[in-house]
Amino acid sequence: MLYTRKQAYWMMAPLAVVVIALVAFPTLYAYFVSVHDARLSGASASFIGLNNYTATLTNGSFYGSIWYSAKFALFATIAELIAGVGLALLFNRTFRAKGLFTSLLLLPLMVAPSLFALIFRLMLNDFVGVVPYYLNEWGIRVQPFDPALVNTTLIAIDALQWTPFVFVIVYAGLATIPDELYEAARVDGASPVQSFVRITLPLLVPTLAIVAFLRGIDAFKIYDMIYVLTNGGPGELTTSVSLFIYKKAFLEGNIGEAAAASILLTFILAPLLGLAVKFIVRRGA
């Protein structure tokens, strides 16, 4: 039975309503709020035009937080890619209890980021933490949350949680590479390193591009872990853009400026995301 175009529209209508309700309305409302002096305290919000945008664009903390998020995303993604690829190569063979180890490896993915951060807040605690205790036993005096080390610690914790995600995708990518290629390379006298550089890596590029893209976006949005561990401090040393917007909205109570910051962030990121998607599609093709 063939449906007319009109009937098809009717069938799509419920989904369209849901999309409009869940996406379009909040988006439009955010634009609306961004041009008003909207406050959390419930005071009457007057129309102030582009003042919120001006305030955000002249706020050094806004740029600082974007810069921090970008750096965090870059280093965290690189660390996760290196560790994830390494683990995938390690697991891309047959060994005893492989299933068990794979399951264990994936455990961090099952934990909520804020809870994961809380676990490390305790484990790395100077006074009751298991990590400093054993480091002290071995004569290593280090404070992971010292301002000089805190960013390394945050990236390491993020990597511990998200490396399994990279591992799963890269492992799946490795499984698609035909064994015949490696056999041919071995016949030609290629070393394992040469095989990796000349065969594995080029064939993994589309997979790596996708996983780097996904992790990059996610790491750029980092919020929960920083909120739990450092709350953006000391000062603004670890303030990500998500945390900046949260504090603007819920601590300073300036909903209008927070909405303006979110919208500006969208416009700043849109061209970069467009280029990234274009690259991925081209490499994938």
Binding site: Y29, F32, V33, H36, A38, R39, L40, S41, G42, A43, S44, A45, S61, R121, N125, D126, F127, V128, Q143, P144, F145, D146, P147, A148, V150, L229, T230, N231, G232, G233, P234, G235, E236, L237, K247, F250, L251, E252, G253, N254, I255
Partner: protein, 461 residues
Amino acid sequence: MKHHGKWLSALVTAGMLVALSGCSGSSGQPSAPSQPSTEPGTSKPVEKQTVTMLYWPGPESDAMQKVVDHYNQMQGATDGVEVKMAPAPREGFWEKEAAMMGADNKDIDVYFTASYKIGEHKDDLLPLDEKLGDSLKLYIGTTIDSLKNGGQTYAIPTDVSNHFMYYRKDLIDRLLTDANWQAAYKEVSKKITGKELVPKKPEEWNWDDFTATAAFFTQSIHPDSPTQYGTVLQAKNLIYNVMIWDDILYSLGGSWYTSDGKANFDTPETRKALEVYASLTKNGISPAAASTFEYPETNQAFQSGKAAMILQWSAAYHELTDQAKSGQIFDKVGIAPIPGDQHKTHVHSLGVGINKHSDKQEASLKWMKYLATKEAMQTYAENGGIPPVADVLNGMKEKRPEFPAIAQHVDQYGYVVDTSEKVFPILEVLARHFSAVWAGQADADAAAKNAQAEVTTLLGK
């Protein structure tokens, strides 16, 4: 925001109410339907009204539930009122409550509030001065002040928070009697503060004494120290940590505002107060990682015997003197006023106020009148609350030894920094600028100037 925000506020409120509809009393049993009671002296049935009180979960809520249960069984039956507590998660509590207030919600009759929120909440709460009259005299004056805005009281205080200096009694006692330690103390104090000091009793300390004593009990400065650190600061970029640092500012004669209400941070007092924290970090007297510490970490440092003294909320006393939780030091905990040439402690209160948009204001007022009695506050205190009622606090010395000190310190040294709607934004500005100084990452002078500029903009003065 109020006018435009009703759409979203209504959505959030609807969600909250769906959640709340599934909530029940502490028993976990669904509330029984209201039964008509009988009006005293007559056989005329009185329709019982249910008053819904929003509260955050935790020890305060557990204690309040006992007061509610008692009221419902006794006075509530006479009043024709039944109180039902509606818990909302502590995480994000204020944001959820703000959304409900923004929607002019009528389903909550009594709102939970705090000194640092009263300025934001006042437009949705009823002034209580005339309605409760002399009942408000039950409370320590500072705590009533902490819930006032524009001269009107918008809530009654149920819990009071202040700060103590906690110290190891055994160590300080030895310092005050051991000649060898006193000689070493002189050297350490000269090295760290530039002054040759002699040990004093903790209640007589100024910030030089605090710094010198903390340095003496820091192994990296004084290797014979029994503790690793002299103190452990709560130096995380967090508004509640600013509240503790404020004690130093006020004890040095500083304040948030000038007499005409302008920002007052670009001052020698602010810089000096910042330097107190900065020098403790710089000299390793407090660990560098303290830049991520808040309430629990500071407690853990003290409980594990690795810190000789801490500046901490009064609520910690119960935990620090509990043998099960603090086995190493539970019997060695002393408390003293916050050091300084003049002792000062931040005071804030948690409290409850009547929703201006509620249809059950009279019923809510009956409950509030009961709550503002010594009997209710006694029940609250006996079940874990810290009500700011001097008679109640002083009367529980045996069970809660810190209570008389809370009453005394709040009354004598307590100050209320601000109850305007600007408190949270200002605290956020101060946390952002000052936590960098505390951690040795920024200059005190620049931070004071930046805070001054931003707070001036916030105040619009």
